[in-house]
């Protein structure tokens, strides 16, 4: 009997993960023997310079991309070998996404976007879901905006809608890919605060990819990647400490 992800006290993990693009001389290694787990009810930041493989790692953990080698689990489900249809269903039910931009379907209004994962799954939100979504909508100040379309919202508002949608289905894990990359610093802080409180107040597990030390300083744990490998795994740190570490990485390289 294999040890499960839950036995390890994790909500998602990868073991000996590798990913390369292309073949032969032009092959590029994005991930090289990465083993890492995401702990439940924690806000984890995955950091690294451009090309470090952090986005690839997230895409594979979220079932958006397939590995070249190694194994991937979401909860106790091994997703390494799942087909497209099963992966799609898994993303729909057990993963929430917040991307850097273009998070919302332009033809749907705010409410339509929030309820889209339920609709895709062919079910209605339960009374519990409704209550939770209502609470989120109110606390994020989106009540007046429910009938607005994405192009009528500011960047910060669009990200808040994406967060409500990601939290709405109570997924095992929310993946946030540079969620503040397109925002001014005030809206950015607001979005980061929201993610942190989703983790603290609702116990939501969150994995965030970022290259911004300020964003990473909101996390409970920071995993550093460089050249496709994990080079550091540490607890909460200030933006200055993170900056220093990254500058050190640059210097060492």
């Amino acid at each position: 009997m294999e040890i499960t992800t839950t036995d390890l006290g994790l909500v998602a993990r990868v073991a000996n993960l590798s990913k390369s693009y292309g073949r032969g001389d032009t092959a590029v290694t994005a991930l090289d023997d990465v083993s890492v787990g995401i702990r439940p009810h924690e806000f984890t930041a995955v950091m690294g310079p451009s090309g470090s493989g952090k986005s690839t790692l997230m895409h594979i953990m979220a079932g958006l991309d397939s590995p070249s080698g190694g194994r991937v689990w979401l909860g106790d489900t091994e997703i390494t070998t799942l087909g497209d249809a099963r992966l799609t269903e898994l993303r729909r039910r057990r993963v929430g996404f917040v991307f850097q931009s273009f998070n919302l379907v332009p033809t749907l209004d705010v409410l339509g976007n929030i309820l889209l994962p339920f609709e895709l799954d062919g079910r209605r939100p339960s009374p519990d879901d409704r209550l939770r979504i209502d609470g989120l909508v109110d606390s994020l100040g989106l009540r007046e905006r429910l009938r607005h379309r994405p192009h009528e919202l500011s960047g910060g508002q669009q990200q808040r809608v994406a967060i409500v949608r990601a939290l709405g289905t109570r997924p095992d894990l929310v993946f946030a890919d540079e969620p503040t990359g397109n925002l001014d610093s005030r809206s950015g802080r607001e979005v980061l605060g929201l993610l942190r409180s989703a983790c603290r107040d609702y116990g939501q597990s969150i994995a965030m990819v970022t290259h911004d030390p300020v964003a990473a300083s909101y996390a409970d744990r920071i995993v550093f990647l460089a050249d496709g490998r994990v080079v550091e795994d540490r607890g909460p740190s200030s933006a200055a400490e993170i900056s220093d570490y990254m500058l050190g990485m640059e210097g060492a390289a």
């Binding site: 799609t88 379907v105 895709l120």
Partner: protein
């Protein structure tokens, strides 16, 4: 990528983008050239066997009729091409903005696109002329071999065939100019801005156009009504009715932006809720079909024109046959009349159906292009849990919605005009009822339904293949 390779690749992708417009221009030119060559040959056959001395008159009438059909095909082709160019421009917004950013003027960009349009027109109509001549030669050879036509020295290059060739080149050029109007709205800043969808199509500057459309509609409707009233006393009523029909139909085409979006919405509600059991795929499809009302209007109006004209002739002829058939006692004469009418309807339907074919090419292309331009949105949907099957269904419903709306409006318009024609021409006849009910032949309904289904399928295959082939990660990374 090195410079010359990059330019070659850009040229290739531009050529690929223009392939459908070249096809449309080639079809229009082939149709025009071939039709004139064949009517010319018919005139030669009649002249060789001229007993009545009226052959030059017959030739003139044939040529005039030919020009009407060619004009319709070329017009539909131009609408299709201007839509294709508008869609291509929308897809190139970021590149155009980048060129604007480094100093290109909007006018020079628009002229560049119009030059592409001119090239498309020249290439398309030359190819089409060759193709059309080949078809005419083959048809004549078959007719002569089968003994249906005398072996005369047919002239396949009468000077008149230059007219459709030039008309296609000029209308394609003009269509690319009209379709590239949005280039002027692209600001250099759009190269820098990030996430929000660009609103490249607003219905603006439409007030003058809509007023003209309304004026034509009202004037046409009044003439049509006058024709029907006069027709109850004298068959001469058909003349004002025909004029009224032409005016009001032009008004309808001009004001299509007011008619088609509501029709699309209505069809979308039916398709979304009943046929496909609702669900996210059907709902998003319904919204996509009316996302850019202007684009959807131009995508569908060609088909409305084609289906409308075909069904007008079919309904008018079937109604005519029923009214006259009941007036004849002699079964032999009735059968003869039947043959004449059926032949006429078949020939007219084939000639008008060609315009519908050009419109269909446009619809397939337009849907493919707009799905390609939504790559990133499709990636988002896949990430959020849209299965590949749901994506395919969404595209199929969107395609069904465009086709069904166009065919239904076309049928309704055609049945009305067919009836109006029959009513104004026949109601004064002894034995005819005061109010003639339109006869809608089942072949027409069945034919359009089958054609619509085939078209929906054709318009679904290519875009859904490209939409499901892209991995969500790649799609999300596209600009």
């Amino acid at each position: 990528m090195t410079g010359s390779k990059g330019i070659a690749a850009a040229r290739l992708s531009a050529a690929r983008q223009h392939a459908p417009s070249i096809l449309v221009a080639a079809l229009s030119a082939a149709f025009g050239v071939s039709l004139l060559q064949i009517t010319g040959a018919l005139a030669a056959v009649i002249a060789a066997d001229d007993l009545t001395g009226s052959s030059s008159m017959v030739a003139l009438v044939l040529a005039m009729l030919g020009f009407v059909f060619i004009a319709i095909a070329v017009y539909v082709g131009a609408v299709v091409t201007s839509n294709t160019f508008a869609t291509i421009v929308a897809g190139r917004t970021r590149t155009i903005a980048l060129l604007r950013l480094v100093g290109a003027s909007a006018r020079s960009r628009r002229r560049a696109i119009a030059r592409e349009g001119l090239a498309v027109g020249v290439v398309g109509s030359v190819l089409g002329a060759l193709l059309g001549t080949g078809v005419s030669a083959a048809l004549l050879a078959v007719a002569v071999a089968g003994g249906h036509a005398p072996a005369l020295p047919y002239d396949l290059a009468p000077p008149v065939v230059v007219l459709p060739i030039i008309a296609v080149i000029l209308t394609t050029w003009l269509a690319s100019w009209v379709g590239s109007r949005r280039v002027l709205d692209v600001s250099p800043l759009q190269a820098l801005s990030g996430s929000t969808e660009l609103r490249h199509e607003e219905l603006r500057g439409r007030r003058g156009r809509n007023a003209a459309a309304l004026a034509l509609l009202v004037l046409g409707a009044l003439l049509l009504a006058a024709g029907i009233v006069i027709g109850s006393l004298n068959p001469i009523g058909i003349l004002p009715a025909v004029l009224g029909g032409m005016l009001s139909f032009s008004g309808l085409v001009l004001g299509a932006g007011l008619v088609m979006p509501p029709a699309l919405r209505a069809v979308g509600r039916i398709l979304g809720s009943r046929l496909f059991g609702g669900g996210a795929a059907a709902r998003l499809a319904a919204l996509n079909a009316v996302r850019y009302p202007e684009r959807s209007t131009r995508t569908t109006i060609g088909l409305v024109i084609g289906v409308g004209l075909v069904s007008m002739f079919a309904v008018a002829a079937a109604t005519y046959r029923q009214v006259l058939g009941s007036a004849f006692d002699d079964p032999e004469m009735a059968a003869q009349l039947d043959t004449v009418i059926t032949t006429t309807v078949v020939i007219f339907s084939a000639l008008l159906g060609f315009s519908a074919l050009i419109a269909a090419v446009g619809l397939v292309n337009s849907l493919s292009l707009s799905v390609l331009q939504r790559t990133r949105e499709l990636g988002l949907l896949r990430a959020l849990g849209f299965t590949a099957a749901q994506l395919r269904r969404m595209i199929a419903v969107e395609s069904a919605q465009l086709t069904a709306a166009a065919v239904l409006v076309g049928l309704a318009v055609g049945i009305f005009y067919g009836w109006a024609g029959a009513q104004s021409l026949l109601s004064s006849m002894p034995g005819a009822p005061a109010f003639i009910l339109p006869v809608v032949p089942w072949q027409l309904v069945l034919g359009t339904a089958v054609a619509a289904a085939l078209l929906t399928l054709a318009a679904t295959v290519v875009p859904s293949r490209s939409a499901t082939r892209v991995s969500p990660v790649r799609a999300l990374a596209t600009e």
